[in-house]
């Protein structure tokens, strides 16, 4: 299940979607918003997320398809926020289950790493004195 949502993520619902009777290891990754940008030494007031939704959904499907070819994934679910997200809130929740934990950890890490590298979602950090699109410039 893939969800892009402007509302707070229901982590319990994601875990429930990623549960399967043949799978003993469920790994969940929660990406929370930090209140500080260490590079700039600035306090972060909020993040503004936007997605190219039609492509983001397809790109996540392609990533999960690649993961399926490498690990025995029995169930999975991912939810990603759009719009305003405050420090301490989850921006992304990803849950993956396979029969055993090793494969679940590996598959979960693969999917979140690929999501961050490829899926067309952008975030802008908002500070008291301005804002910046994350990773846009060297």
């Amino acid at each position: 299940m893939i969800q892009l949502t402007p509302l707070p993520i229901d982590t319990a619902a994601i875990l429930a979607q990623a549960t399967h009777v043949e799978a003993g290891g469920l790994v969940v990754f929660v990406g929370n918003v930090r209140n500080h940008n260490a590079r700039l030494g600035k306090h972060v007031l909020r993040l503004e997320y936007e997605a190219y939704e039609a492509m983001a959904l397809k790109e996540i499907e392609r990533i999960v398809e690649e993961a399926h070819a490498r690990w025995p994934i029995k169930a999975w679910a991912v939810s990603h926020r759009t719009g305003t997200v405050l420090p301490g809130e989850a921006a992304v929740v990803l849950a993956v289950t396979t029969p055993h934990r090793k494969e679940s950890f590996e598959a979960c890490q693969f999917i979140i790493d690929q999501l961050k590298a490829r899926v067309p979602i952008w975030k802008k950090e908002v500070f008291a004195d301005g804002d910046e699109w994350v990773s846009a410039h060297p």
């Binding site: 039609a54 994350v134 990773s135 846009a136």
Partner: protein
């Protein structure tokens, strides 16, 4: 040829609109990208710039058609 180009994030800020109608003589995605960077030099300062066609990353040699859904993809930062 006339193509509609969707823009996101910093690329939207640079082009000034979330969708632009672009008249172009470019035949391929690579030519279109070069043309956009020439018109909007700030695009050259980004860490990366990809073009998506019909919801997938397109290689530079992809041949454009008017019905393609074209999107400019500046550096992504999901998660």
């Amino acid at each position: 040829m006339q193509v509609k180009i969707k823009t996101f994030g910093v690329a939207r800020d640079i082009l000034g609109s979330s969708e632009v109608n672009w008249s172009t003589a470019s035949k391929t995605i690579g030519e279109l990208k070069t043309e956009l960077q020439a018109r909007h030099p700030a695009l050259k300062n980004l860490n990366s710039l990809f073009v998506a066609v019909n919801h997938a990353y397109a290689p530079d040699d992809h041949v454009l058609t008017e019905t393609d859904e074209v999107a400019l993809i500046p550096p992504v930062s999901g998660g």
